[in-house]
């Protein structure tokens, strides 16, 4: 005798009429908002159908190279944990450009005033950050995603925070909230004095190092300022090469990889574990008809090298803006360090390196 065992899957649950009703309601709500947006926006400039908008309340220059924005978040924006980032979008020449920035103000202040700070380093060649410095004014609106990211600084254990350059921003959010456990911040930057006016408290030990005078992070700094680092949760944030360097030192000192948390602000160092025949893989961009041969570059760079201009944001696999459909071929994801299927699926161009078969991208 045969039994047919029916295992209820997620989809079969969603077939219950009342659940479908909820989905329909969400759908109708969305459509109404999309319909109303062009009519309501002239009257309520901070309202938007799908993306949250925030008003710029204050702009402050810090040195030549940094801008601090204070943003009034809209109702229903949600909250955040110290260490998390948002995607902020500005409209530059008709196009919405979204970039990742960490929140640098405290949760307490957010609860009181609904405002957050972003501390932005101006990248000389960048598309967005120089524009922000020149053209963004108090009273303008920007789009603001909800806070996200699993780089969350846990206040239940002593924390060692090591930052390079602008990588200090997520830590400022944490120390501004007056930590209740011992916290050590080591900050390496070219002009560390810019950020020296933080709030002092008894648990907090902040050390700023001027890299133009005394070089980079070393084990000595660690032993002088945080000798018990093996019992701390350790957070690293900054450019990729700095993070790799510090992490190597820590691992050599018998730190547990699980106690080290990282957030990359720049390119993630390329991992050469994979040995695929990437060179010479034909990449075909099907919409435009352009073709390129794979080298070790990712698909975003390859596409740009043949004159295409796909949308991007972070270029390191965080924001998902460069998502695009791959019709066929195998790519290697440098972030998850996994090979893809050879069939059709959505991939992030900026972290995908074409590896074998002809790779066809819908671009």
């Amino acid at each position: 005798m045969k039994f047919n065992i029916i295992i209820p899957t997620k989809t079969s649950f969603s077939n219950f009429p009342f659940l479908r009703l909820k989905r329909h309601a969400a759908n109708i709500n969305r459509r109404l908002r999309v319909f109303a947006e062009p009519l309501l926006q002239p009257i309520f400039p901070t309202w938007s159908a799908l993306r949250n908008r925030a008003r710029v309340q204050k702009i402050e220059s810090i040195g030549d190279n940094y801008v601090r924005l204070c943003l009034k978040t809209p109702f229903g924006w949600g909250s955040f944990h110290p260490g998390q980032h948002v995607q902020m979008g500005v409209v530059k020449n008709g196009a919405q450009l979204l970039r990742c920035f960490s929140i640098s103000s405290s949760v307490q202040r957010f609860r009181k005033e609904r405002t957050i700070d972003l501390t932005i380093q101006v990248q000389n060649q960048g598309q967005v950050t120089p524009w922000i410095k020149r053209f963004l004014k108090v009273g303008h609106t920007v789009t603001l995603s909800k806070a996200s990211g699993d780089f969350i600084i846990d206040s239940k254990r002593p924390a060692l925070l090591i930052a390079g350059g602008s990588g200090v921003t997520p830590f400022h959010s944490f120390i501004a909230g007056t930590p209740s456990r011992p916290t050590v911040l080591l900050h390496y930057s070219k002009n560390p004095s810019l950020f020296s006016n933080h709030k002092h408290s008894e648990n907090l030990n902040v050390q700023r190092f001027d890299t133009s005078k005394r070089g980079r992070f070393s084990l000595e700094d660690l032993e002088t300022h945080c000798p018990d680092f093996r019992t701390f949760e350790i957070y690293l944030c900054g450019p990729g090469n700095m993070i790799e360097h510090v992490r190597a030192v820590l691992l050599e000192q018998d730190c547990d990889p699980k106690q080290i948390h990282t957030e990359y602000f720049g390119t993630v160092p390329k991992n050469d574990n994979w040995t695929a025949e990437s060179d010479g893989t034909l990449v075909h961009f099907s919409k435009s008809g352009a073709k390129a041969f794979g080298d070790k570059r990712n698909l975003l760079e390859l596409a740009e090298s043949v004159g295409l201009k796909p949308v991007f944001g972070c270029r390191i696999g965080v924001c998902h803006q460069c998502k695009c459909s791959k019709k066929q071929g195998v790519v290697y994801n440098t972030r998850t360090q996994q090979y893809s299927d050879s069939g059709e699926e959505d991939i992030q161009l900026c972290v995908s390196i074409p590896v074998f078969n002809d790779v066809v991208i819908n671009l």
């Binding site: 799908l50 789009t143 949308v311």
Partner: protein
């Protein structure tokens, strides 16, 4: 009637010149284009709202009902042509807008967008007017060239055309499934096909259900005492929009001088030949600005086929350059007034209703 075909070198030169135009316009895209699109969307919303409000007030005076239908029709035409068609081509994707982009936009007709993107954006725009590959050429219903075999049903194809025009959105919605022979015709038994068919059918019916519910159930019920008049108004608006869209499309594709290509001619074709084929396979019509806007700038069908992903509001300025190039390369540039172009469409439909007459030698 076929023009002499260009040689390889000429075609390469042609490609280089057209590529240069594409690049120049792309670099120049910006706030102006974004603002234009937002303005059109805003007008569309106003018209739609005004229409939906006027129609139920039709019990005061029928004129209000008529005005409402007019507004709603215009709103639906804008949504379908200048906004929907162009956005779904990805023309405004560089704006990175949250919902006005080719990935998530949905339009107010019964056509499922994904299906349309496959058949129209891919098939029709890649294989334009290649007989046997571009199913948009005559939609498998009309015989518009002697290269296709004559069948008895072609005798009454003028009425088929009239019917297709009125039900145009349904024809387009059904296009992919018809080609795949999902509901009737030869059954192809290949592995994985039936699953794919099930998917196709599901999304086809989903979209239809949504549209029918909206226009013929929800809106009438919301205006309960005058439900019937709202129902009829929505029906009229949809049919009028169909008629309009169909007429515009036919004027761009099936005028008298439009040429067709064989599969062999286009095997391994160069970019230049592709451009060349697009120019011979489309036609433009002239008229006042509002006519261009209501046609979604498909009045510049030649430019649209050359540069399907450039914002349509740029076609007028591009057409000046393209026409100049066409003159230099001695490629026919098919342009005439709306009325004249439409007249040749009607003639063409009639002409090919009948079997090929054996040509008499002089």
């Amino acid at each position: 009637m076929k023009t002499t075909r260009l040689d390889v070198q000429k075609l390469d030169e042609l490609a280089a010149e057209l590529d240069a135009i594409d690049l120049r316009i792309r670099e120049d895209l910006g706030e102006k284009d974004a603002n234009y699109l937002f303005a059109v969307v805003r007008v569309q919303r106003f018209l739609s709202l005004a229409g939906r409000l006027c129609i139920p007030l039709g019990f005061l005076t029928p004129w209000l009902w008529l005005l409402g239908v007019l507004y709603l029709t215009l709103a639906k035409i804008l949504d379908n042509m200048e906004i929907g068609h162009n956005v779904l081509h990805g023309q405004y994707d560089w704006m990175n807008h949250s919902h006005i982009n080719s990935k998530v936009f949905d339009w107010d007709i019964v056509v499922n967008v994904d299906s349309w993107k496959r058949t129209h954006n891919y098939e029709h725009h890649t294989y334009t007017n290649i007989l046997g590959k571009d199913r948009d050429f005559g939609y498998g219903l009309l015989r518009l060239t002697d290269e296709l075999k004559w069948r008895t049903k072609n005798l009454w194809q003028f009425f088929t055309y009239a019917l297709l025009s009125v039900l145009f959105e349904w024809g387009i919605a059904f296009h992919e499934l018809a080609g795949e022979r999902v509901f009737f015709g030869k059954k192809k038994d290949e592995i994985g096909r039936s699953e794919k068919h099930a998917e196709l059918k599901k999304s086809f019916f989903n979209k239809i259900q949504k549209q029918l519910l909206k226009d013929y159930v929800v809106f009438p019920l919301l205006c309960w005492p005058v439900a019937v008049s709202v129902f009829l108004a929505n029906l009229c608006a949809n049919l009028l929009r169909n008629l309009w869209t169909s007429t515009i499309i036919f004027c761009g594709h099936f005028t008298d001088d439009i040429q067709t290509f064989s599969i062999q001619e286009c095997e391994n074709e160069s970019k230049g030949h592709w451009y060349y084929r697009q120019m011979l396979g489309s036609s433009n019509f002239t008229g006042p600005r509002w006519l261009h806007i209501l046609s979604g700038h498909l009045s510049y069908q030649i430019e649209h086929h050359l540069f399907p992903s450039l914002p349509a509001c740029r076609y007028p300025e591009i057409s000046v350059m393209v026409e100049e190039i066409a003159t230099r390369y001695e490629i026919p540039y098919n342009k005439d007034s709306f009325v004249k172009q439409y007249w040749t469409v009607l003639k063409r439909i009639i002409k090919y209703s009948f079997p090929k007459r054996t040509t008499q030698s002089v």
